[in-house]
Amino acid sequence: MELSTATLLGAWVSIFLTICILSFLYEDNPVYKLAEHLFLGVSIAVSVVEAYYGTFKPNMLDPVGRAATAVASGSDPGWDAVSVIPLLLCGVLFLKLVPKLSWVARIPIAFLVAMFAGLKLTGEANANLMTQVAESMPNLGQLWIDHGLWDWSADGAGVISGLVLVLGLCACLLHFYFSAPHNRPLRVVSRFGVLMLMFGFGASFGYTVMGRISLAIGRAQELLGLDRSLEQNAVVHPRIATLASIVLLVGVLAVWKLRGGKPESDEATES
């Protein structure tokens, strides 16, 4: 099997940078900083290119170009002409660099915020208010007929779950009631609401931690070459790359330490 030089190099660089990032487990060091700064620089470069080809060019430059061509040829530019507005707003943003006119740069920002506020008003109210309320009114009679009090075979569906849903939601809503002090009756309801929230957070935490462990397993698989075919491994040699990266890293860290290297954070604290 043949792999291109870029693919081969990419695989080795990926393994080396993973080891560099893992070196933080020892302490903050120059190799970790190298990986961190490389990541930052590359991400900014990629985002600039993405923004240009994914948004700026197709949504603004191209329509403005078409509109200009249409106007020049005497035909109707249609909706393409509208793209001049974002171009103007974009240009106005740069006035921030002129101290006397920097206030003008607030106009596109205000436009952006106001436009989204208007656009999102009904959508947010629909998704986060109307639908939530509509879906939180269970038919307890039907739940009793279908599942009884608690049905293990249907993930705990039943009257108890229905009641927990309604009462828990009401308690959570009242916990976030800020217009009155939490005196005795409201405090009890609020505590119940917090309890419900913590149950929810606990479940969410466990679920997400499992996802993170899965990501860690993914990195370990790459380092050990378990995510590639045997043919690819015969070319890439990921285990050799991992070992070489570790040896190189240990060597660099040893030299750095022998030269009296300290984490930058410690130097900052001492100074």
Binding site: F39, W79, A117, A134, L173, Y177, F178, F205
Partner: protein
């Protein structure tokens, strides 16, 4: 070029549908009807039909300006569908919306014509020619329904009960905000319960001053127009004012360039209001990267190397929440977080000293600023919450007794 690719994809889907199904005899769908959806915007029609008796692998919808064509293949429809919402124009921004359009439905079988694959680099004219050939071959099969005339109708307002309910709630919220703002401006004291996190913010700034280290403020990774980012900016104004009064340093780490610009203005205003404009350092309001994890790496670098005494994570956070909070914990910083992202709250609750949960984030901005508009907005949302609680209880009792009226009032139909 993109149009050609989109057409190509639609054809590939059609071809895939064609290759999957069994062979059957020809018979078109019958009784194709079209009606404008009630309270619709005039861009869609609801089509219904009687399917042919034999098994199909799907349908292809054709649309034309007259009963005799020319026809365009619009979209494939699943074989088990008997109803479909069809658009009267493909792109309302570029095409005029007609008063009348015609639809036809082609039953697709294994032996139906297959659209030719058009290379992505083919010109629009070549793609149109290929499409016309495909439509002609479909029409020649005899599996095509009679054309149905569709008269579009746009309603200015949507008067379905749930939409009316939504409008009433929004109007009520607006009226309440107006009433409370008026009362606040006349000097009425609008009570807002104090949240423990508010005291913690001030304590955190005090600690940073005593230790001679900066305060780190992270307004999340949301765009500027997100409500949480706006709340984060409002809190930043108050925090920067307090930091300036204490003569401490503050670093603001931003993920979105435009958020950085606004944060810069807000911090500058805070320092000016506190009477220390010279203490304001523009270099401390930093754009790190718009990539989520690169931003996280950069912010962690700030935490590790500049060792802030207090970290404030207020705004919209996603997977980076735990990474940021853990690094701050290792750095022994006081950490106060606040977000309305339910999936990230558990991590902040675990790793931070104080967490502003959900709406507390908005309440803090109102409490700290005491801006009559923000306080009124908070009071208004409190009343809406009480209304929702009442509706939930009445609705559940009613639904349990077999009357789904209340839940219907809140269920917005598509």
């Amino acid at each position: 070029m993109n149009t050609a690719r989109a057409r190509n994809c639609a054809r590939c889907l059609g071809a895939a549908l064609l290759l999957l199904g069994p062979v059957a005899t020809a018979a078109p769908p019958t009784d194709l009807r079209s009606e404008a959806p009630i309270y619709g915007g005039g861009l869609e029609m609801i089509l219904s039909w009687t399917p042919p008796p034999d098994d199909l692998i799907g349908y292809m919808l054709l649309r034309g300006p007259t009963a005799s064509g020319p026809w365009k293949a619009i979209e494939p429809i699943a074989s088990d569908a008997i109803r479909h919402k069809a658009r009267v124009v493909s792109d309302p921004r570029r095409e005029a919306v007609p008063e009348t359009v015609f639809f036809r439905l082609v039953a697709l079988r294994a032996d139906s014509p297959i659209p030719a694959l058009v290379p992505g680099e083919a010109s629009d004219a070549a793609a149109a020619e290929s499409e016309a050939r495909y439509v002609d071959s479909l029409l020649a099969t005899g599996d095509v329904s009679a054309p149905v005339e569709s008269r579009t109708r746009a309603y200015l307002v949507n008067l379905t009960p749930s939409r009316v309910m939504l409008a009433l709630i929004i109007i009520a919220a607006g009226v309440l905000i107006g009433v409370f703002t008026r009362a606040a401006r006349r000097g009425a004291e609008l009570y807002i319960r104090r949240i423990p996190g508010i005291d913690a913010i001030e304590e955190g700034i005090g600690r940073a001053t005593e230790m001679g280290r900066p305060v780190l403020y992270v307004p999340g990774i949301g765009e500027l127009q997100e409500m949480q980012t706006i709340a984060a900016m409002l809190i930043l104004g108050q925090v920067s004012k307090k930091v300036a009064e204490y003569q401490a340093d503050m670093i603001v780490s931003c993920c979105i360039p435009i958020v950085r610009e606004v944060a810069d203005e807000v911090v500058k205003a805070g320092f000016y209001q506190a009477g220390y404009p010279d203490a304001y350092k523009p270099a401390n309001t930093r754009f790190i990267s718009s990539d989520q994890f690169a931003f996280t790496a950069g912010t962690n670098g700030i935490v590790l190397r500049e060792k802030p005494a207090t970290n404030l994570y207020l705004g919209m956070f996603f997977a980076e929440s735990l990474i940021l909070a853990e690094t701050g914990f290792l750095n022994k910083s006081i950490q106060i977080a606040g977000t309305a992202e339910a999936t990230q709250l558990p991590f902040f609750v675990t790793a931070c000293d104080y967490t502003l949960i959900g709406e507390e984030l908005y309440a803090v901005s109102a409490y700290l600023s005491r801006d009559p508009r923000l306080v009124s907005s908070l009071k208004s949302s409190d009343y809406i919450k009480v209304f929702c609680v009442v509706m939930l209880i009445i609705g559940t009792v009613a639904a349990s007794l077999g009357n789904p009226l209340i839940s219907t009032l809140f269920r917005i139909a598509e």
